[in-house]
């Protein structure tokens, strides 16, 4: 049963990722990416990481993708990929090279996997992850707020209309 759900979710994830890179329309790509992020959230649930699954849906599929769709709507893209591609040869080489990279990575994972996994995986509940974040990772956690503030100020500076 777990295998069936894993393979169904994995097929959805891979298919939506392929849709993202193959569909010419950027809005379709954004919607495919939402599907992909949602299926990865389902995989987090299967791995027992409930807090991360919720954060994935809220932060990625919610906030980040809204930002993407908004930017796509503002920029109205779609015309830049029409017309002759001046670097078509280089882009065609990317496909076999990417396939080779995928085979290599999967081979390394599958061939080098040794030993049994931990008897019982840790609970990824919000309480457990929160306790870890506020004890061992307290300093990086506080630094995250500085990072977000810096990003916010930087975006305001970039988006300001120059006089």
């Amino acid at each position: 049963m777990a295998y069936v759900s894993f393979f169904v979710i994995a097929a959805i994830a891979v298919g939506s990722a392929l849709g993202l890179i193959l569909r010419p329309n950027a809005i379709h790509g954004a919607l495919f990416l939402v599907v992909n992020l949602g299926s990865v959230a389902a995989l987090y649930l299967m791995l027992g990481a409930e807090f991360l699954a919720a954060a994935q849906v809220i932060v990625y599929a919610g906030a980040i993708m809204v930002l993407f769709v908004f930017a796509i709507m503002v920029l109205i893209p779609g015309k830049e990929e029409s017309g002759a591609d001046p670097r078509r040869g280089a882009r065609l080489i990317a496909l076999p090279v990417g396939g080779l990279l995928m085979l290599l990575l999967v081979f390394v994972v599958v061939a080098r996997w040794r030993g049994p996994s931990a008897p019982a995986g840790p609970s990824g509940s919000a309480a457990a992850v929160g306790r870890l974040l506020f004890t061992s990772y307290l300093f990086p956690f506080e630094l995250t707020s500085v990072l977000l503030l810096a990003a916010m100020v930087g975006v305001l500076l970039l988006a300001r209309r120059r006089a």
Partner: protein
């Protein structure tokens, strides 16, 4: 229980798809979304490894990756919008110099 190596293999597949997307597309927004795909694949691998070794540190790191990704998307999209405002078009092949 599905072994963790399946999740890591899936994450490798998703990462490779993201790499190909970055290389073959000309629209910077789609390239950016492919980068998000790669970040997400790395997150999946982190969670799977954390589960395999029986500790929560992988999940804490994924939390930080999400925060950094949010900041990165905000700044990156602002840069793309600024480039579009100056250039009036949007193709990565035009952006071969670091100044204009």
């Amino acid at each position: 229980m599905v072994p963790e190596s399946y999740y890591v293999a899936l994450s490798a597949v998703l990462f490779s798809i993201g790499v190909v997307g970055v290389v073959i597309r000309r629209n910077p927004l789609v390239i950016f979304m492919s980068i998000e795909l790669m970040l997400n694949a790395a997150n999946l691998a982190l969670v799977a490894f954390g589960q395999r070794f029986g500790n929560l540190d992988g999940q804490a790191v994924v939390f930080f990756v999400m925060a950094v990704a949010a900041a990165e998307v905000a700044v990156g999209l602002a840069i793309i919008v600024t480039i579009f405002r100056v250039r009036r078009r949007l193709s990565v092949d035009d952006l071969s110099v670091m100044r204009w």
